[in-house]
């Protein structure tokens, strides 16, 4: 048997610039959906993430400062979110608390319409984005997969737009690929797929659709083996990034042979 050669390393994936921030790993990991800090640490390390979302809540004896200490120890930057806010007013206050607590201008603006769908309230999201961008924040705006709204958020000062693939925690992947591709094609700020990722292939599909980065939370933290899924998502991100740039073949109606027809060996049954 031949001795197999090892494939050369793939070209490095450059960091993504979001406002004035350099995102080293394009897989942003969310920390929600897991309570055990040891399991969370395993997943964070396996994902290779350099930026992770956190929520801001009133201090309690249970939460204390364990998460901040963990992220400091791992050297992972924090992206405070405004999860749980229903109005621009609450989101602005929460963002300011996050900036003060975590000493970062980064904020993921997330204003939801109702508890049942958890879908973004785009009107409040737009207002919060405008006010926070004017206040010096680097705003990553979580929104619906609406191409018109993505542009509006960009115009309002969002440093990155984060359209959903499908509802938060649903694991349904990308429900409207055409819209996602339209958002990507018109954007002049980074597009980060947020929400809906169910498994690693969704991460690859998002990158193939042209997203600049992907945020995965529940897909990893609620998997049976979070660290293993984190590893899979990291590989999928890399695969999708390179596949996008490799230039995929066009889809065709019918088959197209890949082996030459000339020079075939045939066994003619009625040969004389």
């Amino acid at each position: 048997m031949a001795e197999h050669r090892t494939a050369p390393a793939a070209p490095a994936i450059p960091p993504l610039r979001i406002g004035g921030y350099d995102l080293a790993s394009r897989l942003i990991m969310g920390t929600g959906g897991i309570t055990d800090l040891t399991a969370l640490e395993g997943a964070l390390v396996a994902s290779g993430t350099t930026l992770t979302t956190v929520a801001l809540r009133r201090w309690s004896a249970d939460t204390r400062d364990g998460l901040v200490a963990l992220l400091d120890r791992l050297g992972i930057d924090v992206l405070p979110n405004t999860a749980g806010c229903y109005t621009a007013r609450d989101a602005v206050l929460t963002a300011r608390l996050g900036r003060e607590a975590l000493e970062t201008d980064l904020v993921k603006v997330e204003v939801i319409a109702d508890e049942r769908t958890l879908l973004p309230d785009v009107v409040e999201t737009l207002e919060a984005t405008e006010r926070l961008a004017a206040d010096g924040f680097t705003v990553l705006a979580y929104t619906s997969d609406d191409p018109a709204m993505a542009l509006r958020l960009e115009q309002a000062g969002a440093a990155a737009v984060m359209p959903l693939g499908s509802p938060i925690g649903s694991g349904l992947g990308i429900l409207n690929r055409a819209h996602l591709e339209l958002i990507v094609s018109r954007a002049s700020v980074p597009i980060v797929l947020d929400a809906g990722v169910g498994t690693a292939s969704d991460v690859a599909l998002a990158m193939e659709a042209g997203c600049d980065a992907v945020l995965a939370a529940s897909a990893i933290t609620r998997a049976a083996e979070p660290a293993r899924m984190a590893h899979a998502c990291r590989l999928a991100l890399e695969a999708g990034f390179h596949a996008r740039r490799a230039g995929r073949i066009p889809r065709r109606e019918h088959a197209l042979a890949s082996s030459p027809m000339a020079g075939r060996v045939t066994a003619e049954e009625d040969e004389r």
Binding site: T35, A55, D65, L67, R96, A195
Partner: protein, 80 residues
């Protein structure tokens, strides 16, 4: 130091505090310097709002509280 009736994180509290810094030290159990940083040098990861307005950490040591003030002390928790 006499005690002050406050609403701390949504609950009524009667605390022997004068400034925002005193409240942060009480809640976190860590000593806080004049600059609002933890005396142990580790990141505090805490923010404070009084009456819905954020009090920057540089003002914690000087911002005095009044009876009935609504004080929120928040920190980072796991989330999306």
């Amino acid at each position: 130091m006499s005690t002050l009736p406050l609403t701390l994180n949504g609950e009524p509290a009667e605390l022997a505090v004068a400034t925002v810094r005193d409240v942060v030290a009480h809640v976190t159990g860590r000593a806080i310097g004049d600059d609002g940083a933890a005396a142990d040098g580790r990141r505090l990861g805490v923010a404070v709002a009084v009456g819905g307005e954020v009090v920057p950490r540089s003002a914690w040591a000087t911002r005095e509280l009044a009876a009935g003030d609504e004080v929120d002390v928040v920190t980072a928790v796991q989330g999306g």
